[in-house]
């Protein structure tokens, strides 16, 4: 089963990286509020959050497989022919929708006062985003985004339905050979747990790094000692 770990991680992290880029773009479009564009971005988020990932994977893989002649004509069939790229696309589109909401939440949490203060200092446009909005939004969004990363690692277990032999696919294969469902699924669960253990530690480190003032020790110290 460990042989499936590289594929699981590769799919999870490629889709997270690509999806994050898309998510930021979507969130900025929604925030900019240019009507036709922001309306499109909002519908995208609505559709991809509102439908099951498994259905999205099937639609991309088996659904688009039906349109081979058309896809060949526009030179995209090499992409849709491969189960790996189909899985990567479906996972990316899905995580981008959730990510967009997380980024939007982060941006909204930036207090208006901070922006006003920055403006008063003469900051505008990119400088304002880079020095004030982005850091505050990132701190707010990171815990939620860490959640999304963990969810994506687990979501890769669905791609075994389109012939990709990642951890869960190999687990099914092993069970059909050994009939030891409990032991095999237990081991598969442990593998995911270990991967996510590492990921949660990394997210925790990142949180401390970008927001040293919010470290737990400091927060505890700020609580009034005894007010009774």
């Amino acid at each position: 089963m460990l042989a499936g770990v590289p594929l699981t991680l590769q799919l999870a992290f490629s889709s997270i990286a690509l999806g994050l880029g898309m998510a930021i773009a979507l969130a900025l479009i929604v925030r900019a509020g240019l009507r036709p564009l922001s309306w499109l971005a909002e519908s995208y988020v609505f559709v991809f959050r509102g439908t099951p990932l498994l259905v999205q994977i099937f639609l991309v893989y088996y659904g688009l497989g039906q349109f081979r002649p058309e896809l060949q004509e526009i030179g995209l069939w090499w992409f849709f022919r491969s189960p790996y790229y189909c899985a990567l696309l479906a996972l990316t589109l899905n995580t981008a929708a959730y990510g967009a909401e997380i980024v939007r939440g982060g941006l909204q949490s930036v207090p208006a006062g901070q922006i006003e203060a920055a403006r008063a200092f003469g900051m505008s446009g990119l400088t304002l985003y880079r020095r004030i909005v982005a850091p505050i939004a990132l701190r707010q969004a990171l815990p939620a985004y860490g959640n999304e990363i963990i969810l994506m690692i687990k979501a890769t277990s669905l791609v075994s339905t389109i012939t990709l032999m990642e951890v869960t696919g190999l687990a099914h294969k092993l069970i059909s050979e050994t009939f030891r469902s409990f032991e095999v699924f237990f081991a598969a669960g442990t593998i995911y747990l270990l991967m996510n253990f590492v990921v949660t530690r990394l997210i925790d480190l990142a949180e401390r790094w970008i927001a040293p003032d919010l470290k737990r020790e400091n927060r505890v110290a700020m609580v009034p000692l005894d007010t009774r």
């Binding site: 088996y62 497989g65 039906q66 022919r81 012939t163 099914h172 294969k173 069970i175 059909s176 009939f179």
Partner: protein
């Protein structure tokens, strides 16, 4: 009017409850699992009901064995583990007898047998693979020679096979390293991918491959290459049972034998497969 009708219905129901149980109700109740995704052996029809050769045959076998059978659908890759977990009592799902499966479960006498091979697109280079019929039980050397002759055709090609099947065991034994082997949850899925051109050939029983050729996606498909049977491909399709259920084995064995003897299996086989799949003893 409504009251009269309600009273009539209530009366009828009461009569039904109080009536002496008829003979069929005394039959032992068992659950039989099938996949529901392997036409024409077993599949789900447009009304959402299970249908196919094994549903017809199962009803007939249960009648003869004096069993009250209920068919349930179960995904293929969990079909043997769930039998052992007692979710149901028997399997009729196009499942071949193999020595490996017999380590875990019991089989009755075979109720059907047929060859296996390749389903390809008509315009594929694989359509030109040489034909023939080979048994991996009776003539291993001949069969393996035919397999060697296929290797140049299959080099670098992609084969689609349903996971946990004898077809997969066969493909992995002889073509691993020659062709890329992709595992599917159901045969319907590799058929879709064959029609989409994602795989170059599907490895399947000829019976199921023929059904695919007659389906909406099958008009550009054909069976190519030799027909193989026996050995690692299995010793015929039979009812799968738990090892401890010897009484069920006795009952089903007798039912299968009588259905073969009186031609019932031949009739049902002609109905569903258009060819006689009665096992030759």
């Amino acid at each position: 009017m409504t009251f009269v009708r309600l009273t009539a219905i209530a009366g009828a129901l009461l009569a039904l409850c109080l009536a002496p149980q008829d003979v069929s109700a005394q039959n032992r109740k068992i659950k039989v699992a099938t996949e529901g995704a392997y036409a024409p052996w077993n599949f789900v029809n447009s009304q959402g009901k299970l249908e196919g050769f094994e549903l017809d045959l199962g009803a007939e076998l249960c009648k003869r064995a004096k069993l009250d059978c209920e068919f349930v659908a179960q995904d293929w890759d969990g079909i043997m583990p769930s039998l052992l977990a007692k979710k149901y009592d028997a399997i009729m799902a196009g499942m071949n007898i193999t020595p490996k499966r017999m380590e875990m479960i019991n089989f009755t006498a075979a109720y059907a047998a047929g060859p296996h091979g390749f389903l390809v697109l008509k315009n594929s280079p694989l359509a030109k693979m040489p034909g023939g019929e080979f048994s991996l039980t009776k003539d291993i050397a001949g069969a393996e020679k035919a397999i060697e002759e296929l290797k140049p055709f299959l080099k670098g090609k992609v084969l689609g096979v349903q996971g946990s099947t004898t077809n997969l065991a066969w493909a992995e034994k002889y073509f691993k390293g020659v062709a890329e082997i992709r595992e599917y949850k159901t045969t319907e899925q590799h058929d879709l991918d064959l029609s989409a051109g994602r795989i170059d050939a599907a490895v399947d029983a000829h019976s199921a491959a023929k059904a695919t050729m007659e389906s909406a996606i099958g008009k550009d498909m054909m069976i190519a290459g030799p027909a193989f049977s026996g050995g690692i491909l299995g010793l015929g399709v039979a009812v799968g049972l738990r090892k401890e259920d010897n009484d069920l084995k006795t009952a089903f064995d007798a039912a299968v034998k009588s259905a073969i003897a009186d031609g019932t299996i031949k009739t049902l086989s002609m109905k569903w497969f258009k060819i006689d799949m009665t096992p030759k003893s």
